[in-house]
């Protein structure tokens, strides 16, 4: 298993290194073939990993709570492997004065990270395919950045160690900076620099928070304060005082708030999305934004329960609601399709945050599903927008219309993915949104009601876009443009896995829910339910579809 896991990490890294070293000796389009092979192999590895993962026994966290009474284990990777990195030995006059602690490369997998890894590998492959012809300049460098980004993202999801997590989290900035800055639109330099500095500033505050947390816990005697499972179990057994938790929560959140992005820290996002090349947008929306929500889920929720209840819920609940409505209204006002999709991301991640901060099983399940669903459907939207842009070199709704006549396949795919994004029952978006809102309803009905407005708005802006873009009289930048062909095989292959997954999760979400269920329950176990037991769905994952 560890071999597969390390291969999943190593193959894109090796691909990137290969491309970087031999970029001069490659002729023609060798780089994109190498990238395709690397990404497909990584995808296969991750699927193999997932199938092995499903064989693993689920963690027995309930036993820990009941029998030993030492506390719960909010983070329990079902598989883990540690490599020693470095140790700070104990110093000081007496042994009790200051205890040493160590940093490890601690790789692991649980249901949440496993599903996100598969999402990453699927989207990366689509990215390679969609960049096939649109990236003509400095091909080797482009695919190097793409594969390096994939490595960093998989690194974040396999990290069960604070430092490895942070290192990968920061590392992802570098390849994406180059992707936006070198292959982006006209304002690419400004967009890239803004994206980089904004997120870096946020994550430096997170680093201070991490350092404070590590030192605090190490001072109390935990020898491995960086290991997420150990840290979470330790903090569950010895909770920090509430003011300390709140301070740490705010510091840790800083980087994640920017990354998600939660209103009002979202200003870098539309710009970065619009300027990024299609592959950059897909990975940015599909996976990178999830690093923020994943950070909340991995660090804030399990470690700082009191702060999440007292500060996180009101603060992020209200910001998420504002983000949903604001993002939707902004999307409604856009005439640039890519910008529209970018703003819709802000709204959709608002649902995700609502779900996570519902702090119960239903909500967190919804939040995690929403992370995956948004990755698929928004990733798909960006792919299709990229295809349209490649054909017409414009993304303005005013210059395009009635494309369904000319590009029926693309139009069909766009309708499908938009409906999934809107949350049509039977497609994936529905499951995540409804569970997020249901969870929030149990925790705090007001946020749920306000958030639900976003569902209506979401349908409004996406359907308006579909109507203008696809139906009605044909409008093209140059009337009667020739040489515009419909979706080709390559593009179909790029979209196919996304469409299949959208449909599959929509119809049969149960396998996915089962996969993440133990981990979600472990986190949610930290939070008492407000409702008396037995009512509604509290405390258990609903069976969505009877088997």
């Amino acid at each position: 298993m560890i071999v597969l896991l390390l291969l999943t990490l190593a193959i894109p890294a090796a691909g990137a290194a290969l491309l970087m070293i031999f970029r001069h000796s490659m002729t023609g389009h060798t780089p994109r073939w190498i990238a395709l092979v690397a990404s497909v192999v990584t995808l296969l590895m991750s699927i193999g990993l997932a199938s092995e993962f499903r064989e693993l026994p689920p963690p027995d966290h309930s036993a820990g709570v009941v029998s030993s009474g030492v506390g719960s284990f909010p983070i329990q990777p079902r598989f883990e492997q540690k490599y020693h990195w470095f140790t700070f030995p104990a110093t000081g006059v007496s042994a009790s004065d200051s205890k040493g602690f160590q940093f490890d490369f601690h790789f692991g997998l649980d249901g949440i990270s496993m599903s996100l890894i598969v999402l990453t590998t699927v989207l990366t492959m689509s990215c390679v395919l969609v960049s096939w012809e649109s990236i003509a300049e400095r091909e080797a460098e482009f695919y190097t950045a793409l594969l390096a980004l994939e490595t960093g993202l998989i690194g974040v999801f396999t990290a069960f160690d604070l430092m490895l997590f942070y290192v990968s989290f920061e590392f992802t900035l570098i390849p994406l900076f180059f992707m936006i800055g070198m292959w982006g639109g006209p304002q690419r330099r400004y967009a890239a620099v803004k994206f980089f500095l904004y997120t870096l500033a946020g994550s430096l505050i997170t680093l201070v928070g991490l350092v404070a947390l590590v030192l605090l816990v190490a001072g109390d005697g935990l020898a491995t304060p960086c290991s997420l499972p150990d840290l979470a179990a330790w903090l569950a057994a010895n909770p920090l005082s509430v003011p300390v938790q709140i301070a740490l929560f705010l510091a840790l959140s800083a980087g994640f708030l920017v990354k998600v992005p939660v209103f009002p820290f979202h200003t870098w996002l539309p710009l970065a999305h619009v300027e990024a090349p299609t592959a950059g947008s897909v990975l940015l929306a599909g996976v990178l934004l999830k690093l923020g929500t994943y950070g909340f889920l991995r660090l804030c929720l399990p470690m700082l329960p009191a702060a999440c209840l007292q500060v996180g819920l009101p603060l992020l609940g209200s910001l998420a609601v504002v983000g949903i409505i604001y993002g939707s209204l902004c999307a409604l006002a856009q005439r640039d399709i890519k910008r529209l999709v970018a703003y819709s991301s802000i709204a959709h991640l608002g649902f995700c945050m609502l779900g996570l901060f519902a702090l119960n099983v239903v909500g967190i399940t919804g939040g995690v599903l929403q992370m995956i669903n948004h990755g698929l459907s928004t990733g798909g939207l960006f792919l299709i927008v990229g295809m349209i842009y490649e054909r017409y070199h414009t993304r303005q709704l005013d210059e395009l219309g009635g494309l369904a006549i000319k590009l029926p396949l693309i139009a069909m795919a766009l309708v499908f993915v938009s409906l999934s994004s809107i949350g049509l029952p039977g497609l994936n978006g529905f499951v995540g949104e409804i569970l997020s809102l249901a969870g929030m309803f149990e925790r705090h009905p007001l946020y749920m009601v306000l958030g639900a407005i976003g569902l209506v708005l979401g349908a409004w802006y996406l359907l308006t876009m579909l109507q203008t873009l696809l139906f009605g009289p044909l409008v093209e930048p140059q009337q009667g443009e020739h040489g515009v062909s419909d979706m080709n095989v390559r593009e179909a292959l790029a979209l196919a896995p996304i469409v299949v997954l959208c449909l599959w999760i929509g119809v049969r979400p149960q396998p996915l829910v089962d996969m993440i269920k133990p981990d979600v329950e472990a986190v949610a176990g930290l939070y008492p339910n407000d409702l008396p037991a037995g009512t509604a769905m509290a405390g258990q994952v609903p069976r969505l579809v009877s088997d």
Binding site: M20, R23, H24, H84, W85, F86, T87, F88, P89, A90, T91, G92, V93, S98, K99, G100, F101, E141, M163, Y166, V167, S168, E170, F171, L173, I174, F177, F178, G181, M182, R188, R189, A192, V193, F196, L197, L200, A201, L204, I205, L207, V208, V211, A212, V214, L215, A218, G219
Partner: protein
């Protein structure tokens, strides 16, 4: 009589690496002129021999250094303790890199003298770490300074260099006087120049008058602040970095910092009446002084760097900012799990790799006739010199403090040290350090952006200068490897600060 000879012999064994270096210096100075014809001409390619000789001398010194384990601090004029061991390792290994930078930058006819000066500087740096006596320490500091004056002017002789050298010379003399004055206060308070004697005398109740101790501390810090380019003693740095050759700028960005910080680590605990930095915590006034110095240095360095158009002025301000980061480690003392002094010493090594890497790569890609001057000349470097641009980007990201580079670990250690100190001062410094790291990202990123995101405008042919370039490659690779395997360095550093 026999006793005196025995003592002398014993002292000599402690400084064998330096004796080797200085003997080579003498050979170079004496033989060098005979290879130059009266008209100033010399056979081309002589510089390769002198460079090779310098490397051989450093290699020999390095072997001797590596085969002698540190011994606990003793009473003689020299001490080869763990701190000295670490500082020697730094200066000898980075000295080798500097020899590579200087290799092709100096004319054949001056190569002997230039390499000899560099070796003398390395020997002086070693002696600063080894000195166990105020007089020895001062002489060692001068052994660093005086060859520096010569070296700065020897390599590149233009109007700007002349100005830079004079400026460096005058301010350096001034700082030496400050250090000497501070030492005289310590001598006055204790009646001895031996460091152990001073520590013992000051620890006796009543002997160490607080006022005298504080004046000595302030003067020593002020004098050494010149070397580490701490604000407000930094004014020379931008002009000098701009005026001197790239190899000398690289040397100035690193060697004086090693000298300054090692001397501070030696001397500061004395004013707190302890001999080693183990468990050293600066008292209120020392902490206030160092903290203020650190904050000013970080902010001035970073904010001024934002405004620079000249590449080397920018790097000078960056070097100032990094001195500020390291002062943070010094200000918080050495008490937590991650000691401040240990973090500083770790940072020195990481900083050396990344800063010398940047200079070496800039030198490697800029031809002898046309060195890089402004940021704009880096435009499109990723098109014209893709490998150099990549390595340079790694070094710059390391200076920014991004993973996966040694720069990240250096900053992480400083964060851990500052926050772990648990007082408001330490935590405030950690916060300001984070803020400054964010500001610094802006100008480092601008350099990366210029190289990668802008088309090349300067089409002039720039052949790669391979010797410096290899030095830069070594630095970059080491930066990445140090990130993956930091434990050994951390162990060495802990021993040095314990």
């Amino acid at each position: 009589m026999n006793l005196a000879i025995e003592q002398l012999n014993h002292a000599a064994t402690l400084i064998m690496p330096e004796i080797v270096l200085l003997a080579t210096v003498c050979v170079m100075f004496m033989v060098g002129p005979f290879l130059v014809a009266p008209a100033g001409q010399t056979a081309s390619g002589v510089r390769h021999r002198w460079g090779g000789l310098a490397l051989a001398a450093l290699g020999t010194a390095g072997l001797i250094w590596f085969n002698n384990d540190p011994i606990p601090i003793g009473g003689g004029p020299f001490t080869a303790d763990a701190l000295a061991w670490y500082a020697r390792g730094l200066s000898i290994s980075f000295g080798g890199l500097l020899v590579l930078l200087l290799w092709n930058q100096v004319d054949d006819s001056y190569a002997a003298e230039a390499q000899a000066c560099l070796l003398a500087i390395v020997a002086g740096t070693n002696l600063v770490a080894v000195a166990n006596d105020l007089v020895g320490l001062f002489l060692a500091l001068e052994l660093v300074s005086i060859p520096t004056y010569v070296l700065l002017y020897l390599v590149r002789r233009e109007r700007g260099t002349r100005e830079a050298t004079i400026k460096y010379f005058l301010l350096s003399i001034f700082s030496s006087a400050l250090v000497l004055y501070g030492m005289s206060w310590l001598y006055g308070a204790t009646g001895t120049t031996n460091l152990i004697g001073i520590a013992e005398a000051l620890s006796v109740e009543g002997r160490g008058d607080n006022l005298i101790r504080h004046v000595a501390l302030a003067l020593l810090v002020a004098g050494l602040a010149f070397r580490i380019t701490a604000v407000p003693f930094h004014f020379y740095a931008p002009d000098v970095f701009q005026g001197v050759s790239v190899s000398n700028a690289a040397m100035l960005s690193f060697i004086p910092k090693v000298v300054g910080f090692v001397a501070l680590v030696r001397l500061l605990p004395l004013t707190g009446a302890t001999l080693t930095t183990k468990l050293w915590l600066p008292d209120e006034s020392a902490r206030a002084l160092l903290a203020v110095l650190a904050v000013m240095t970080m902010f001035v360095g970073n904010l001024m760097a934002l405004r620079q158009r000249d590449l080397f002025r920018l790097l000078a301000y960056s070097s100032i900012a990094h001195a500020g980061y390291m002062l943070v480690g010094l200000a918080v003392g050495n008490v937590g799990v991650v000691g401040g002094t240990s973090a500083v010493l770790f940072y020195l090594a990481a900083y050396g790799l990344m800063t010398i890497g940047v200079f070496a790569l800039l030198r490697g890609a800029g031809s002898a006739e046309h060195e890089f001057e402004t940021i704009d000349e880096l435009r499109g470097l990723s098109y014209t010199h893709p490998s150099t641009a990549l390595l340079l980007a790694v070094c710059l990201l390391s200076l920014t403090g991004l993973p996966p580079t040694a720069g990240f670990l250096g900053k992480l250690n400083l964060f851990l040290a500052a926050w772990g100190e648990t007082t408001a001062v330490g935590r405030g410094l950690a916060g300001l350090l984070a803020l400054n790291a964010a500001i610094a990202a802006f100008y480092y990123l601008r350099l990366v952006a210029v190289m990668y995101l802008e088309p090349a405008t300067d089409r002039s042919e720039r052949p790669i200068e391979i010797v410096s370039w290899l030095g830069g490659l070594a630095c970059t690779v080491a930066t990445l490897l140090l990130f993956a395997q930091p434990q050994w360095l951390w162990d060495v550093v802990l021993r040095a600060s314990g």
